[in-house]
């Protein structure tokens, strides 16, 4: 491929989730040149893996579709998927970025017909369903994937599967000789929209995630509820495939805890309230949701949604942080604890437990440039000279709505940097 042309007037946006797309588009629609890099094979990030949004319960595909249309209509954004930032040197207005582009083994002539996928037999754990099921090693990430282009997993390169995929492709889009590329880019400002990742639930030892199959995380529950998820939208529990009717939600799983994440992840209360409505949607009046909480933080207008759920007879609230989970012989998780309203000791069995897992900044797992300042939890504030800043949930635990607001604000800061650089050069 040809290296993108970038100058000190270009804005580099790292991360192609809802925040990165928004920041890139806002800047581009103001007439700035943007390079948008994304590590995975598709844009959309974690937003594309949600079933519905709160509070309006609409589908993320809607918001993504609008952004993708804006993207296709704009010539100033250059999108690079399967690309990681290996390093950034320099200062405000004058950065040198090193990008590593992993081979996709499928070029831009791909028509997304799916013949390669049918020809391949190897399967890999599906990263877009948090590993809950398998996906063919030649695949399109998901229905909303952008670009709409297949890819071959590196694990099948050099095997007969890869040759079969190549033979099956009618348009000759498969190129097994693709190599990793390194690209140097000059940019004026950098926006870190690297987003978040669910905290490692296995570290919360008393909850038994990883030991008890019927203890799952809230992001996995999103996939269970989604018709394009591993169960076709049915709420089937992992241990025996039985339909889960009596579901417990544990709040602050990893958040507000000095032993895990010290911050409040902000989204989990609303995510759980939303997910109780998935249970109602699937099971009607026979649904039973129990929310175990310290306190419910549904801020601003989202309080209305909380009050709506409080009126729902299928949802029960227990003011208590669950102390530990045990497992019954039939696979039911049993929740042990003491409630704060009367100090009653309980041991309650449920079909399925959903941990409202906390948000950890994804950037905790990547090497940021030296001069990027982060807070005590690792969320990105930016560089002291203002040439780099965080956007969306990379900068603070935010829901989709507030991530978009944050990204728009960050875009303005980047535009300011470019504007000032341009006037200094003039």
């Amino acid at each position: 491929m040809t290296a993108p042309i970038a100058t000190s007037q270009t804005i580099l946006v790292v991360g192609g989730g809802i925040s990165g797309m928004t920041a890139a588009l806002e800047a581009a629609e103001c007439g700035r040149d943007v390079v948008l890099v994304e590590r995975s094979p598709t844009l959309g990030g974690r937003t594309a893996l949600l079933y519905r949004y709160f509070p309006k319960m609409c589908h993320p595909t809607c918001g993504l579709e609008i952004n993708l249309r804006r993207l296709k209509a704009n010539r100033r954004v250059r999108v690079l998927t399967m690309t990681e930032v290996a390093g950034i040197t320099g200062r405000r207005g004058d950065y040198q970025a090193t990008l590593k582009i992993r081979p996709r083994y499928v070029n831009e002539t791909c028509t997304a017909c799916g013949d390669c996928s049918a020809a391949v037999s190897a399967e890999i754990p599906n990263p877009y369903n948090y590993g809950l099921d398998k996906i063919k090693a030649a695949h399109l990430p998901h229905v909303m994937a952008y670009p709409q282009r297949y890819l071959l997993d590196p694990s099948i390169i050099g095997t007969a599967d890869a040759d079969q995929a190549k033979a099956a492709c009618k348009v000759g889009a498969i190129d097994l000789e693709m190599q990793e590329e390194t690209v140097q880019l000059a940019v004026g400002a950098v926006l870190w929209a690297t987003g978040w990742r669910p905290y490692d639930a296995a570290k919360i030892q008393p909850y038994g995630y990883g030991r008890f199959p019927n203890v799952i995380t809230s992001v996995e529950f999103e996939r269970l509820a989604d018709p394009s998820g591993p169960t076709g939208g049915k709420l089937l529990r992992p241990s025996d495939g039985k339909e889960a009717k009596n579901i417990a939600f544990i709040q602050c799983a990893g958040s507000r805890d000095e032993n895990h994440l010290r911050h409040c992840s902000r989204i989990c209360c609303m995510a759980t309230l939303k997910q109780t409505q998935y249970v109602r949607e699937a099971l009607g009046d026979t649904a039973q949701s129990t929310v175990y909480y310290i306190d419910i933080r549904s801020i601003d207008r989202l309080e209305d949604f909380y009050q709506m759920v409080q009126r729902d007879a299928t949802v029960k609230f227990v003011k208590s942080k669950v102390a530990r989970i045990a497992q019954a012989d039939n696979g039911d998780p049993i929740l042990h604890g003491v409630d704060t309203e009367g100090y009653h000791r309980y041991a309650t069995a449920h079909d399925l437990v959903v941990l409202a897992i906390g948000m950890e900044p994804e950037s905790n797992a990547i090497a940021l440039p030296q001069d990027v300042i982060t807070d005590s939890s690792g969320f990105i504030e930016g560089s002291p000279d203002g040439g780099m800043c965080g956007a969306g949930s990379a900068s603070s635990p935010l829901d989709v709505n507030r991530s978009v607001q944050s990204a728009t604000g960050a875009a303005l800061r980047a535009i300011k940097v470019i504007y000032q650089t341009a006037s200094e050069e003039a």
Partner: protein
């Protein structure tokens, strides 16, 4: 204007008094690690994690709330904090890292200091015996301590206990871990006078501390 200026200590009506957190302030001033009590966010993990929790009158979470609610008599005469076995399960799990075990012992020893601790409480009995035993010479005399505990409920009960534990005692003697002659005199540390002087000084420092006011 006049009315505003006279809003002093005396004019606060009785109904407002219970909002003044006097007992919390007392705990902060006199209980070891008491300043942590206000940090509790009432999540309940300590109560649910306590292996003896079901046998407590009030779990730690409830005790902290009672302190904040000013329930002085109920807290200090309670048997709850004496039930703590120092397993530290609550301390390692507390999301706010409160030193819960230490606070439990702090409240217990404060109640003992004030003479409010429950009369019949095995942990308290043991603590008193242990303290007397080890401060006498500066070393714990295990023979005297165990025998003292066995016979605390009378001669018959004591003999029964001794007979029950005899195989264990013989095993320990065989292994050289228990010396029956300790019952007669017992050994003492090299500098017994030094330890006595240290304890005397510690008591003097304690006596200088601000007296309890409430």
């Amino acid at each position: 204007m006049h009315a505003l200026r006279t809003t002093g200590h005396q004019t606060i009506p009785a109904v407002a008094a219970r909002y003044r957190n006097n007992f919390l302030k007392e705990v902060e001033a006199h209980v070891e690690d008491g300043e942590w009590v206000k940090m509790c966010m009432q999540c309940g993990v300590c109560a649910g994690s306590c292996p003896l929790g079901a046998h407590w009158e009030h779990p730690p979470q409830e005790l902290f709330m009672m302190i904040r609610a000013g329930k002085r008599a109920e807290v200090l005469t309670s048997d709850a904090m004496w039930m703590c076995t120092s397993c530290y399960n609550c301390v390692v799990r507390c999301p706010r890292k409160l030193p819960i075990t230490q606070i439990m012992h702090g409240i217990a020893s404060y109640a003992q200091e004030l003479g409010l601790a429950p009369e019949v409480q095995p942990t308290r009995d043991f603590s008193i015996q242990f303290w007397k035993n080890c401060t006498k010479t500066g070393r714990v005399n295990e023979m005297k301590l165990t025998v003292g505990l066995y016979f605390k409920d009378g001669l018959v009960a004591g003999i029964k206990q001794v007979m029950n534990m005899l195989p264990v005692a013989l095993g320990l003697m065989k292994a050289g871990r228990l010396n029956p002659f300790e019952l007669l005199r017992g050994h003492s540390p090299k500098d017994q006078k030094g330890i006595a002087a240290m304890l005397k000084r510690a008591r003097a420092i304690e006596a200088q501390r601000a007296p309890v006011t409430h």
